[in-house]
Amino acid sequence: MAWILDGVAGLHAALVEAGYTVIGPTVRDRAIVLAELESADDLPYGWGVTLEPGGYRIRRRADSAAFAHSAGPQSWKPFLHRPRAKLWDARRTDDGFEVAETREEAPRYAFLGVRPCDLRAIGILDRVLTGDRYRDDAYAARRDGVFIIVVNCTEPGETCFCVSMGTGPGADSGYDLALTEFAGEGRFLVDVGTEAGADLLARIEHRPADPVTETRARAEVDAAAGRMGREMPAEGLRELMAGSLEAARWDDVAGRCLTCGNCTMVCPTCFCTTVEDVTDLTGEHAERWQRWDSCFDLDFSHLQGGSVRTSTKSRYRQWLTHKLGTWHDQFGSSGCVGCGRCIVWCPVGIDLTEEVAALRREGEKSDG
C-alpha cells in the first residue's frame, strides 16, 4: 500500500515533535551538504548539481524539486562514525591512574533524503562496525534508533553507477519511510517500511495513492536506472582485483594520485580510524581520541621500522583492491555502493570505473 504526501513540511514538523534532530540536504558553500534542517524550508528546493571527475557545481533547476540532486560532498557517515571522538580520559592518582570512559549522549537522528546507494552504505557500516566481536560502541549508540527516510533516486548524476553495484536507484527495505518525489509537483509517493514509519505517517496528513500515480512513481525510478552516468559491471570484480596485483595500470594511476585521502573520507563505507593519545602539560591528565584515518596516509601502514606501503601505487592499490575485492572476504559484500563520490571529490578526477576498466583491458590482454 502506497500513500501520497503533499510536501515534506508536515513530515519534518512531526519528526521534530517526536524529538528527532532532522538531518537532510541543504545548500551551503555552493554545494548541497547534509546538515541539520531547522525546517523543511532549508531543503534545496530548485537546486540540482552537475558532476564530473574532480568537479561539482550546483545549478538552478527549472522546477522546485527538493531532492533532484545526486551525492554531495559527504555521506551520512560523519553523523554516525564521527571524524573525531574521545574514547576515554585518564587521571593520575596516588598509586597509578584512573580511566573514565567517554559516554557521549548520542543525538536522536532522523535522516531525511537518504539515497538508496547511501542506505546500502549505512548497512555496510553496520556490518563492519557492529557486525562481529569488534564493535564500535559509539557508532552503535549513534546508529541505534535512527529514523530513516529514503528518497528513491529519479535524478542520477554523471558519476553515478548504483545500478552496476545493485544498490539503487530504488530501495526495497532498510528504511522507515521511502519517498519518491514528483519533481516540481510538490508531491511524494510514500512507502512504509517499519512500524515506526507507519506511526509517524499516521501523525501527518496523507492519502492513499491511486494506481496511476503509483505506477508513474515506480516508472520514474525504473527510468532512472537507464540514466546512470557511469557503469562498473560487478561481475568478476573480486577476481579481477585478486588477479591484478602486478598490473602496470597501478603505475599509471600513481602518476595522478595525490594520496590526499579525499576519496576515502568521502566514501560512505571507508571506516578506518586510528587512535591518538595525548597528555596535557601537567602530565596529570591523558586522553585517547579516535579519528578517521586513510590507507592513503603514509603513516597508516607504519610498523616497526617504517611504513610498509610507501609508494603511491601500493596505497591506491590497497584502497581499490580492498574496496572491490577483499571486502567480500572480510565482510561478505563489495565495499562500493556506486555513489560516485570518490570520482567527484578526487581533486584530480581519478575515476575508479575508468581504472577498473583499464585493469580489465590489461587483464584480458595478458590472458589473450
Binding site: R28, D29, R30, A31, V33, G54, G55, Y56, R57, P73, Q74, P78, P83, R84, A254, G255, R256, C257, L258, T259, C260, G261, N262, M265, V266, E276, D277, V278, T279, D280, L281, T282, G283, R291, W292, S294, F296, D297, L298, D299, T310, S311, T312, V344, W345, C346, P347, V348
Partner: protein
Amino acid sequence: MAPKLAVWKFASCDGCQLTLLDCEDELLTLAGEVEIAHFLEASSAVTEGPYDVSLVEGSISTPADAERIKEVRRISRRLVTIGACATAGGIQALRNFADVEEYRSVVYARPEYVATLAESTPISAHVPVDFELRGCPIDRGQLLEVLSAYLAGRRPGIPNHPVCFECKMRGNVCVMVAHGTPCLGPVTHTGCGAICPAYGRGCYGCFGPSARPNTGSLKTWLGDIGLARPEMDRMFATFNVTAFTEVPDDPPA
C-alpha cells in the same frame, strides 16, 4: 627542578614566538611546568643554560647567525625549530633564487653595513634538529603537543598527511572541486586545521610539503583550470619556497 625552556630568534618576523605567548589559557600552566629561562620577547631576565628544550625561530641568513646557532645547539638538550623560516628558510629564501648582491645594493642605503649570506637556509642545514614544527606561523595546538610530549617523555603526535584530511574531517566543502579555486591543500602538511578552505580560500601552503607530495599532478590540474606556469610557480614560492622547490614534479616512486 623544572626543565628549562629557551626561545631563540634568527631571521624571522617573531610571529612564531608570539604563538607561545598566545597560548593564553595554557601559558600559566606551562610557566608552572617549565622554567622559561630565555625568552627575550617576553622578558629580559635570562637564566643561563644549558637548556632542556630550545625553541628556535627563524632562518640562518647572516654569517654571525651561522655561528650563533652552533652555540644554541651546544647548550640545548633538545632543539625544536618553530615555523617555516626555521624549518624551510622562510619567505626570505626567495633570495636564494636571485642575486643577493643586487638586492643588497637596491634595498639598503649603506649596503656595506649589511653582512648577509647569499642564501637563507633552515636550521637543519647547520645543526642537528630534534623536531621541526611547520607553519607560518606555527599552530598553538601543535606547539603545546610537542612541549607536552617532551614533558611526558613521549613522542609528539604530529601527523604528516595533507591538509585535505583536516578539511574533510572539519566538514569543509572542497574549494578545488566545488569552486575551481586553486589550492595547495593536497600537497601541504597538515597542522593549521584547514583554516583557509574553511573560509572559502585555497590553501597557501603555509605548512610546507606533506610527506611525499605529488606536486606534478596538482600542477597538471592547476594548468587545466587555466593557470599559466609562472602563476603556478608563484603559488609555491611563498613561506616554504625552498621546501616546495626541492619536491620533484615527477610523482613520488
